[in-house]
Subunit: 250 residues, 2 copies
Amino acid sequence: MKIEVFFNPATLAPNELAGRTVAVVDLLRASTTIAVALAAGAKEILPAVSTEEALRIAQNLERDQVVLAGERKSVRIEGFALGNSPSEFTPETVGGKTVVLTTSNGTPALLAAQGAKEVVVAAAVNFTAVVERLRLSLEATGDLAILCSGHDRQFALEDAFAAGRLAKVLLPEGGLRHVEVNDGALAALEIARHFGEHWLRALRASRHGQELATLGFSNDLRTCATQDSHPVVPLYADRRITAHRPAPEG
Amino acid sequence: MKIEVFFNPATLAPNELAGRTVAVVDLLRASTTIAVALAAGAKEILPAVSTEEALRIAQNLERDQVVLAGERKSVRIEGFALGNSPSEFTPETVGGKTVVLTTSNGTPALLAAQGAKEVVVAAAVNFTAVVERLRLSLEATGDLAILCSGHDRQFALEDAFAAGRLAKVLLPEGGLRHVEVNDGALAALEIARHFGEHWLRALRASRHGQELATLGFSNDLRTCATQDSHPVVPLYADRRITAHRPAPEG
């Protein structure tokens, strides 16, 4: 079994993720926002690399079916209906709609994961649901890559923490002796050990968390730290993110 | 006071290091090799980005004054006198000579640090000497950036550990409350806490360390893990690395 953690989409080797199961993490805030939006009944989320691409995608859709959302430097893009605060994504704002989303860190990570076999968007709010999905994939393929979005192209503590928590609960019995890990996974596990189950402590310790708090987004930190509040599994494929619907049992 | 750790030269923002004091770490093995070579009496070390550049630099120097050294995929470059094993750098091989050195990870990190005010090459073998030098710089400027070379463009555990050890001993009294750190520094400190003072344990846990052991370089791991065996402070400026000679006291 192999579990790898990558802290930065910018330094991935070409085809590093090709054919693999990938969990993409952008805890503050795109991963959380995506899970919250799908849980609120959004039909799908289309990630866009730029404001211009978001507008172009939206123009090709029915006007009353699409919601433009996204941030630059943490603040809502001018003219867009929504920013990147999870609390903005409610049944009223996004229910039944296509959300076109562009964010500084999360979107590049998703795009870097294109070519993977399966891409799951992981956060605290959907932690256990995502873990269950990833466990099935791991059992089937024996391989998992966790891709952190980072912050401003740099290592982000909160994403490393989330990656470490995922890796920790997905380690087979017997732990590290029975799994091939990269240095990123070892470091992420160490960070997860340090913060334990305290999502909010990790978020508040991170530079990005502190920046968001300074900008008035302290509530977002609490939302992003609430484990299993939105138990949905967002799957990214063909440039769209949809909620995974498990096949009915029996 | 500000202490930042960067895990990857490839993702540095332009001018991120401009005007700053920078410690460059490539524990396996360029940092170690550079310290060992200077301690063995090498006159200077000229880093080159490629085999071709190394040859070009060497051609402009007196043939009996220059030694070509370097590796690709950990193995000595064909036709070069030396590889990148610290043990190859002795008074006999490099004493009084200019060493032209090209390595996979360390050289890019050094070049990324160009434009810094002062660049110190840090390893375990010169740990305390480097710490003393960096402490003086920190007292003068209140600012330090530690740049890890990484391995194959990825996060390298051994460099993060070394960065964490540097950050730990350089933290002011009162610790993190009195210093601005980035997420990289927080993670590096956590990794340093985990391995304590066990350089060799960290090297052996790292993927790069395991690769080197497999290739027959286990002795290099021990050399690279021997703290303070070569107490020299390599300074990089104007594309050359020389041993810092402290001004005579009094």
